[in-house]
């Protein structure tokens, strides 16, 4: 049916076009949101890379996302082993607790963190944001790690053990190498989840730990800074590169559900 094909292409264009608009916008010489741009220059790119008001939040976001990734994985990997490999009293509750952060609207969490963190000095502070981001990243990483673990063939471990390897050797030389790709994907998701998180950061990051999404939000809301177009097009370019790599290497794009 050609009509259906045309409809699908139109909807695809509706999804794609607004994202591509950020690239010409970032090269615009106009200080306001005029489209199509009146002229082109690279000045706002220089402004982004040299202005501390933009570079500091970018660095903060990188630090917070990296720390979130490590803490999340340190919590999630052992817990996933427990939940996938053991049936124990309280298993259902543990599973529910780990999934819960995915069910709570971020604005509610932001309020809770603001109330609990400000008396103890964890607002306006990297640690506070890392804690909050770790909580919301745990379910995402847990879904991926436990799915990887469920797909693991335990006969590989039995074979290693029966050939004389101890539990530690088996884990390091058999279990870990097989699971590594899944762990890497989970780490990437945890990193990106933190890097993209906006609402909690708006409320608790303050000036000192301001993240990139927080700065972007403020810049839309308060000043309409044209550097925003540069940040947007850099972020979009990263996604383009990521999608291209996924398309070429896996013949199937990565997506989360």
């Amino acid at each position: 049916m050609n009509l259906l094909r045309a409809i699908a292409i139109a909807i695809g264009a509706f999804i794609a076009a607004p994202m591509f608009i950020v690239i010409p916008m970032s090269l615009s010489d106009s200080p306001s949101f005029a489209f199509p741009p009146t002229g082109y220059w690279l000045g706002y790119y220089r402004a982004y890379f040299t202005n501390e008001l933009w570079t500091t939040p970018t660095i903060n976001s990188a630090i917070i996302a990296t720390a979130t990734m490590f803490v999340t994985m340190a919590l999630v990997v052992p817990a996933s082993f427990a939940l996938v490999r053991f049936r124990f009293p309280g298993r259902g509750l543990v599973n529910f607790l780990l999934m819960m952060p995915l069910m709570v609207p971020h604005i509610v969490l932001a309020l809770g963190y603001y109330a609990v963190f400000s008396p103890v000095g964890l607002t306006n502070n990297h640690i506070g944001v890392i804690i909050a981001h770790t909580c919301v990243s745990v379910p995402v990483a847990f879904l991926i790690v436990s799915a990887t673990l469920k797909g693991f063939d335990r006969n590989l471990e039995r074979a290693a053990m029966s050939s004389g390897a101890g539990p530690l050797r088996t884990f390091l030389h058999v279990t870990l190498p097989v699971l590594r790709p899944g762990f890497l994907v989970a780490s990437l998701f945890a990193f990106l989840h933190s890097f993209d998180e906006t609402v909690i950061a708006i409320f608790i990051a303050g000036r000192d730990a301001s993240t990139l999404p927080r700065k972007m939000y403020e810049s839309v809301r308060l000043e309409a800074d044209p550097v925003l177009a540069v940040v947007s097009s850099l972020l979009f370019t990263l996604v383009l590169i990521g999608t291209a790599i996924a398309a070429v290497t896996r013949k199937r794009p990565v997506h989360a559900t």
């Binding site: 094909r5 409809i7 699908a8 292409i9 695809g12 509706f14 999804i15 607004p18 994202m19 950020v22 306001s32 949101f33 005029a34 489209f35 919590l75 052992p78 817990a79 427990a82 490999r85 053991f86 124990f88 309280g90 543990v94 607790l97 780990l98 819960m100 995915l102 709570v104 609207p105 971020h106 604005i107 509610v108 969490l109 309020l111 809770g112 603001y114 109330a115 609990v116 909050a132 909580c135 379910p139 879904l143 993209d196 906006t198 609402v199 708006i202 409320f203 999404p213 972007m216 939000y217 839309v220 177009a229 947007s232 972020l235 996604v239 383009l240 794009p253 990565v254 989360a256 559900t257």
Partner: protein, 295 residues
């Protein structure tokens, strides 16, 4: 293992069979999950409980904030708005997302792959970036305004900062969730079912209506649940694209804290939002099973 053989004499029902290896396994499982459980309990559950407590106790122990929220027409309008937007956005996402997922799965080929790439790209692009794009597109110096002026509108109607812009932006941001949910369900449908229907004399449309569509419903339910729930608590996009009359509950909560420092009232609204979300998820859990939502 044979449970009956290990059953101790004082436990004839055998419901709690005596299995010595069990307690060690339990201990390992608890030790492994303890760090994550403690972290979430202290640093996630406690702040949430605090919100609930504040809603009842700030400044004094009372239900005053809840009474205010449910009795004032201003706040009922915000609550009504929230549900109306969530409903509209979900319906539009479904109407646009279903045919797209259908073409991706059934037509495949280069077109299907390209469309899937576009959806994945949109999914991964920060929603702030996409919100910014809509500010440009719908703004007073944007292409849509120019087009309307060219067509002959004078004065050109304001298309930003109203319910239209909010709906459009939210549809654009949430449609990947809908498409990916439906796509996941459609991909599991065995094409042989459709061939069987055709060989029994069904027209392509009959085959779709009686075979393909019912089998794709789990994805539709998943997508609608996800989009509706994310919409209910959406903060950033309605605040940036909507006008003051289109405020949703999350925006109102934010405003109450940032500008008015009304902690008790903000917390009461947060509890209402949380309870609504949890109730919807509980219904979903009853009907489908929560583990399938993010599957």
């Amino acid at each position: 293992m044979n449970v009956t053989a290990a059953r101790p004499a004082d436990n004839p029902t055998g419901r709690k069979a005596f299995r010595p290896w069990r307690s060690r396994a339990n201990l390992s499982a608890w030790t492994l999950s303890a760090p994550a459980v403690l972290f979430i309990a202290v640093l996630f559950v406690y702040p949430l409980l605090d919100v609930v407590v504040i809603s009842f106790t700030d400044p004094t122990l009372s239900l005053v904030h809840y009474r205010e929220f449910f009795s004032s027409p201003l706040y009922s309008r915000v609550l009504g708005n929230t549900f109306w937007f969530a409903f509209m956005v979900t319906v539009i996402c479904l109407l646009l997302g279903y045919p797209l997922a259908y073409v991706i799965v059934r037509y495949g080929g280069t077109l299907g792959f390209a469309l899937l790439l576009v959806v994945a790209m949109s999914f991964w692009t920060s929603f702030l970036v996409r919100t910014y794009s809509w500010l440009v597109i719908l703004g007073s110096k944007g292409p849509v305004t120019k087009l309307l002026a060219w067509v002959g509108f004078d004065p050109v109607p304001q298309i930003l900062f109203n319910s239209f812009a909010t709906t459009l932006g939210m549809v654009h941001i949430l449609i990947p969730y809908m498409i990916l949910s439906i796509y996941a369900a459609m991909q599991k449908i065995d094409p042989n079912h459709l061939r069987a229907a055709a060989s029994l004399g069904a027209t392509p449309f009959q085959g779709f209506r009686t075979v393909f569509f019912p089998l794709s419903l789990p994805g539709v339910v998943n997508g609608c649940t996800l989009v509706f729930i994310i919409c209910l608590g959406f903060y950033v996009t309605p605040v940036l694209l909507g006008g003051p009359r289109d405020q949703m509950i999350a925006g109102l909560i934010g405003e109450q804290i940032e500008e008015l420092l009304e902690w008790g009232f903000a917390s009461a609204m947060a509890v209402v939002l949380l309870a609504t979300t949890m109730a919807l998820l509980a219904v979903y859990n009853r009907l489908v099973g929560l583990d399938k939502l993010w599957g």
